[in-house]
Symmetry: C2
């Protein structure tokens, strides 16, 4: 729960001429303390408990900003809303990918084989950069399937 006072964020913010506000600290705090992949509205509701006067609009605005700054990642898991995750968080494995249950929509972080995946990705990235004259900045890997519980309910 020291997330909101992380000096690196402060530095990052101030460098850009951005101010450190209550809503911003609150949003980072929420993301810092969850293992989930929250939507804007979920983050809003969570922030709202402690700061009832923070608006949903502000949450959206700051999520966009934090993504641009490379502090959070935005995902589309196919349920029609964007979901966000702190890139460096005590609650998460390091670099990981996602397993999505198309039944119950749960999202599982995994890092099995991530080293090997990264190794191949690095190779592919180099090849693609050369072949398509394209500078790669990131990737998304997601597996879709049915979790154990959902398989039971068929």
């Amino acid at each position: 729960m020291n997330g909101k006072n992380n000096p690196e964020w402060h530095r990052n913010f101030r460098q850009r001429g951005m101010r450190i506000t209550e809503p911003r600290k609150a949003i980072l705090e929420v993301l810092n303390n969850t293992t989930e992949h929250l939507s804007a509205e979920e983050i809003y509701m969570s922030v709202h408990r402690t700061y009832p006067n923070v608006g949903l609009t502000t949450v959206y605005r700051n999520l966009e900003l934090l993504e641009e700054m490379g502090i959070i990642a935005k995902f589309h898991f196919g349920d029609g809303r964007s979901r966000y995750e702190l890139i460096h968080s005590p609650q998460k494995p390091g670099h990981h990918h996602h397993l999505i249950c198309t039944g119950c929509k749960q999202i599982i972080d995994y890092d099995d084989f991530v080293e090997e995946e990264i190794e191949l990705l690095t190779k592919v990235e180099q090849a693609l950069s050369a072949a398509h004259n394209f500078q790669i900045t990131g990737h998304t890997i997601q597996f879709y399937g049915i979790c154990h519980a959902c398989r039971g309910n068929l």
Copy 2:
């Protein structure tokens, strides 16, 4: 341009008790003749030229259906609308992945290293299935970056 009369689709449709209609043939025809990843509205506009009385709602409904049938794939590339692609098309490489320019939003199909990617994915899928008791049915791999043209405009 024989897409719309593909006997396999016909069989597929009839098996499900589904009727073969003009809008359906038109949508498949459009997807069969493009190398792009069209949105529902883009497909609608294209269909509209030949069949001005086909509505956008019908396009949405049939895209959903075709996806369930495994005939087309639906993607989220981050521009706020879903995009669709025929899974087997004369206009496309076989199994491929995507390279997305965050500048101009263009999408490049690639199949360099796809065999190796698939090989690793298969391995990862098996491990994940076992470790998380999860039955994997599909995956998404996307690379994000900046294309040559967009790099020039910085």
